[in-house]
Assembly symmetry: C2
Homo-oligomer: 171 residues x 2
């Protein structure tokens, strides 16, 4: 089977959901008898008003610093990101040795192209990929639960700038 994903390279659209991330998280907290603290509410807001891909450091950078109101400590950021993943709000994967997060709730399944020059992540969808996953799993009697498919290379912009600028090519 060949692969003509017919869509053009446009950003993926958010899909309709019945609850806001905060509502969904509150439900999750209740179901686990966890508490809805100021920090968690604030972080939900920060994370869902933001770009799709980020790591813990990038999130920390956009937060109020140590003296300010709404300051959240680094351990709490890590702990809360993990909860967001558990709650199904965020998706986590590893890139260059650190954890990268993206919206999961209200966002369609997709995979990534990763430009090793500018470190940009480009999303794409491929229904055929899921078919491969299913048939491979079946062949090996494997219960597939998730997958990570990252295509590494050079994006169009970086390829155009390539003639002069010399940088690292491989991860």
């Amino acid at each position: 089977m060949t692969t003509e994903s017919t869509k053009n390279p446009e950003p993926l659209e958010a899909i309709a959901v019945s609850m806001t991330p905060l509502q969904r998280f509150e439900e999750y907290l209740q179901s686990k008898s966890l508490r809805n603290t100021e920090q968690r509410k604030f972080l939900i807001e920060q994370v869902f008003n933001r770009h799709e891909h980020f790591d813990a450091d990038q999130l920390m950078e956009q937060l109020p610093s140590k003296g300010s109101a709404n300051y959240v400590s680094r351990p709490t950021v890590y702990r809360t990101l993990r909860e967001f993943v558990d709650a199904g709000l965020l998706n986590r994967f590893e890139l260059d040795g650190r954890s990268v997060y993206e919206h999961d709730y209200g966002y369609p399944e997709h995979d990534h192209l990763y430009c090793t020059k500018c470190r940009k992540l480009i999303e794409f969808t491929s229904p055929e990929l899921l078919q491969i996953r299913e048939s491979v799993a079946k062949l090996h009697r494997f219960r597939a639960r998730d997958h990570r498919f990252i295509i590494e290379g050079t994006c169009d912009e970086c390829a155009k700038l390539r003639s002069k600028g010399r940088r690292q090519d491989r991860v």
Copy 2:
């Protein structure tokens, strides 16, 4: 992570190559004006007499310890593994936050099923996957150079033991 391909889908066969890994590495060293030291020769031997998937720690464990002949220090192991990757002898990917290596030279391209219960890596090949990679890359004007496709889930053996055994399910 162990590397037992299960009984049914047969393990991938090594493909014919004209040079031994050592020969190829020596060529690489010469081309870069690097030196063919005892440690590097010994590590080539250790790595290519071994299972496919391993991390730096697992390699260290099988090496002679500090007093012995042929002792290789941890920094040298890391430095040398990187060279093996540069030389095209090994392939590196990330799993659970650390680097995992496998034979690249003389070994067919493949991807992995990863059992999150027993941490086993199972190899598979899929020509269709490369077609997807190509068409997605083309669609996004992306120069694809490599990819990582890891399907996570539960292997057959672990699924059979599942009724009583309790362990972590997700990475």
